[in-house]
Structures are given as structure tokens and as C-alpha cells.
């Protein structure tokens, strides 16, 4: 009974066997069985002598021992294979730039390079590329920098300064880039939408308004141009703003992108409401969510009746 209680639990033995796999094969073949036995003996002794000891304490002490000795064994086997310290240092020196600039700098720079066709190394270097979300700023600013228009350059400079577009929780790399493109589309919409965007991305509303107004004035920025066209089409109807704001609030960027392309910035839900004659319900919903005095879908209705319906017929 006593010996059973003190016997090394199976899970711990399995864990240790798993750890043993990290050792070099030659070492493992020679000593793994004996090490398992020593481990089990050690456990029994540990539990017998240390009344307050727990399995976890024991596991941690063994883990430390394993970690140290695994490193040592791998180093020794590398040495015996002709991998001298000098060679190691040479390799380290060659890899140093990669190790130093790993993750944030390299990845963001590469992202920027991939995205921006006219990659400007100087510009990238001028940026502090330590945060993932700066990919957005980089790519947007690069777009803006292509222009010789002073207002465009001013907007690019503003983008450089506005560095707290907090999207830390977003995925990195390619997914982040895609996300940023969607956000960029949302950004160049209208002040109310942008104020929501600003709120959720921690940009002050004055900065947002300033940036927004500049973006609106840039004719050669393709996304902006497209949004301008949409803006002309839908006018200044508050319901559009409310819908977009709601979508931004709920981070429904997919819909924004999707229905942006559809020349219908009021989202799938408005379309759905239009198709199903549920305007009142939707209006009430947006009025409540956005604390609006009134809400109508006049533009959307017109657009739906004059353009979408004839097209479908």
C-alpha cells in the first residue's frame, strides 16, 4: 500500500519519457532506460523525505535538470560532429542581424515591401516599425506618397504621426494586411463613421476629422475616389452613417467591404430590409443603437428601386 502510494505516477513517467525524446538519439539509446529508473527512484525518495513535496514540485525540479542537460548533450554531440565554438561564433555572427531584427522589424518590413510596389526603403527606415499595426500606416502612407500633390503628402505625414491606431488584437502578417485594407476602406468614409472608427481605434476625434478631411480631398487615392463616388451617390443621409457606424461598432468589416463594392454602403441589413419591407424595425434599431433623433433610408430606397430592382429584372 505504502509502496503503491509512493510509486511514480504514470502521467509523470510519461511526461519524463517525453522529455527524454529531446536528448540526442545516441545519448538516449544508451541511457534512457537507466534514466527512467533513476527518475522513478528519485521520485520515491523525494516523496518519502519531503512531506510537503508535491508532484508538481518534483516535476519542476526534474524539468530544470532535463533542460540543462539536454542543452549540454546537444552541444557536446554537435562538438563531436566537428561543430567547434569558432564555427558556432561565425554562424552566430551571420545570423545576428536576423535574430536582432526578428519578428517586428523584418516581418513588417517584408509586409510593407510585398504590398508597396514602389517600395521606398528610406521611408520604411524612417518609420518606427516596432508595432504590428504600423503595417497599415506604412502601406497607406506609401500609397499617399506616390503623389506629388502637397495635400496628399500632408496626409502621409499625418499618418506617420498618428501611430496609435490600436489594432494589437488583430492577427499579424498577411491577415493583418488584409484587415488593414478593409479598415482603410472604412476610414475614408464619412465623419460620423470615422468618429466610431476613431473611438474604437483610440485615435482622437480631432485627429480623425483632420485626417478624414484630408483623405477626402485626395483625388488620386483609389479607395478614396471610390468612396467619394459612393458619397456622391448616397449624399449625406444620416441613416447611412448610422449603419456604417453600427457596422464599425460591431467590427463588421467584411460587410463594409462587400457592400462597398456593391455601391451600397448601407450594408447587407439595409438591403435585406429593403427587400423585405422591414424599414421601420431597422430604423428603430439604428435610432436606438446610435442615439439618433431620426433615421430614414430614403437614399437606399431610391437606389434600390431605381438601380438594383431594374438590374435584377
Amino acid at each position: 500500500m505504502n509502496s503503491n502510494r509512493n510509486r511514480c505516477p504514470n502521467w509523470l513517467m510519461s511526461l519524463y519519457r517525453l522529455c527524454l525524446r529531446i536528448y540526442p538519439a545516441s545519448f538516449r539509446e544508451e541511457f534512457a532506460v537507466a534514466m527512467e529508473q533513476a527518475f522513478a527512484d528519485r521520485y520515491v525518495d523525494f516523496m518519502r523525505n519531503k512531506k510537503t513535496g508535491t508532484n508538481l514540485q518534483f516535476a519542476f525540479s526534474m524539468l530544470r535538470d532535463t533542460g540543462e542537460s539536454v542543452c549540454r548533450q546537444h552541444w557536446q554531440s554537435a562538438e563531436s560532429a566537428g561543430f567547434t565554438r569558432l564555427r558556432f561564433l561565425v554562424l552566430l555572427a551571420l545570423l545576428a542581424p536576423v535574430l536582432i531584427f526578428h519578428e517586428s522589424v523584418i516581418r513588417n518590413t517584408v509586409d510593407g515591401m510585398v504590398y508597396a510596389k514602389n517600395f521606398n526603403l528610406e521611408f520604411i527606415r524612417a518609420e518606427a516599425l516596432s508595432k504590428e499595426h504600423e503595417v497599415y500606416r506604412t502601406e497607406l502612407a506609401l500609397e499617399l506618397r506616390k503623389s506629388s500633390d502637397p495635400i496628399t503628402i500632408q496626409a502621409a505625414n499625418l499618418l506617420e504621426r498618428n501611430n496609435n491606431w490600436a489594432i494589437e488584437s488583430y492577427p499579424s502578417g498577411e491577415a493583418l494586411r488584409e484587415m488593414n485594407v478593409r479598415i482603410a476602406r472604412a476610414v475614408v468614409a464619412e465623419p460620423l463613421q470615422y468618429s466610431w472608427f476613431a473611438k474604437f481605434d483610440r485615435v482622437s476625434s480631432s485627429e480623425a476629422a483632420n485626417l478624414n478631411s484630408m483623405l477626402w480631398s485626395i483625388e488620386n487615392f483609389p479607395e478614396l475616389k471610390r468612396c467619394n463616388d459612393i458619397g456622391k451617390l448616397k449624399g449625406k443621409d444620416v441613416s447611412c452613417n448610422a449603419t456604417w457606424a453600427w457596422m464599425l461598432h460591431n467590427r463588421k468589416y467584411e460587410e463594409i467591404m462587400l457592400y462597398d463594392n456593391y455601391v451600397q454602403p448601407s450594408s447587407k441589413e439595409i438591403l435585406h430590409a429593403l427587400e423585405n419591407n422591414r424599414y421601420t424595425q431597422l430604423q428603430n434599431q439604428y435610432i436606438a443603437i446610435n442615439k439618433l433623433d431620426a433615421c430614414n433610408f430614403a437614399d437606399e430606397r431610391r437606389f434600390y428601386n431605381n438601380i438594383i430592382c431594374p438590374e435584377r429584372k
Binding site: 545519448f27 541511457f31 534514466m35 527512467e36 527512484d41 528519485r42 525518495d45 535538470d65 532535463t66
Partner: protein, 111 residues
């Protein structure tokens, strides 16, 4: 790993060699002996122990013992190690080296 400065045994190796002075022992026996020798201050884990044993075998300071106890009294997975002549010599040299250090320390600290 040997002591790079002296080509003698490292601390852990020296302790293992010492533990084998009074006869052959299996891995865990060595661990316990080292613990006793150091008043519980050094507790070798299996990784450290067998890493050191591997080196000691390579140096020719210890060897695996052919003689096994009765299997009914012992686990057959256990491997026993014994000090070689070279190992004995290494312990002696290392002990002398340490004695010199202790003598020097005594002269200057307690004179």
C-alpha cells in the same frame, strides 16, 4: 564535461568519482551518495548524472560493471558503474590539487 583549465574532472564528475571509491554503484546509488557527501547541497538529477557518466566513460575514468546483483533483488534496468585505474588516478590528482588550494587558503585565511 571536464574541467577545461586543469583537464581534470568537473565538480559533478569529481563527486561521482568520489562516490565510486567505496565500490560499484548504480545511477541512483551515485545520486544518493553525492547527496550525502555534500550534506544534501548537491542533488544530481538523472540528466546531469548520466551526462556526467557518459563523459566519465569516454575519459576512461569509469566503466560499466559486468557483475550484476541477483535480478530478484534488483531492477534489471539499473546499470552499475565502477571506478577504473585511470579514474582512481584522476581522483587522486584532483584531490591533491584541491588540497593545495585548501592549504593556500588556510595559510592566508587562518594564519
Amino acid at each position: 564535461m571536464t574541467n577545461a583549465r586543469t583537464n581534470g574532472p568537473s565538480t559533478a564528475q569529481y563527486q561521482i568519482l568520489l562516490s565510486l571509491l567505496d565500490g560499484e554503484k548504480h545511477g541512483y546509488g551515485i545520486m544518493r551518495c553525492v547527496e550525502q557527501l555534500t550534506d544534501g547541497q548537491v542533488r544530481l538529477g538523472p540528466g546531469t548524472l548520466y551526462g556526467a557518466i557518459k563523459r566519465l566513460i569516454e575519459q576512461g575514468w569509469i566503466a560499466e560493471s559486468d557483475e550484476r546483483p541477483d535480478p530478484s533483488l534488483d531492477d534489471e534496468r539499473r546499470r552499475y558503474y565502477v571506478l577504473t585505474g585511470l579514474g582512481q588516478q584522476a581522483v587522486q590528482e584532483e584531490t591533491k590539487r584541491m588540497q593545495r588550494l585548501v592549504r593556500f587558503a588556510n595559510q592566508h585565511l587562518f594564519a
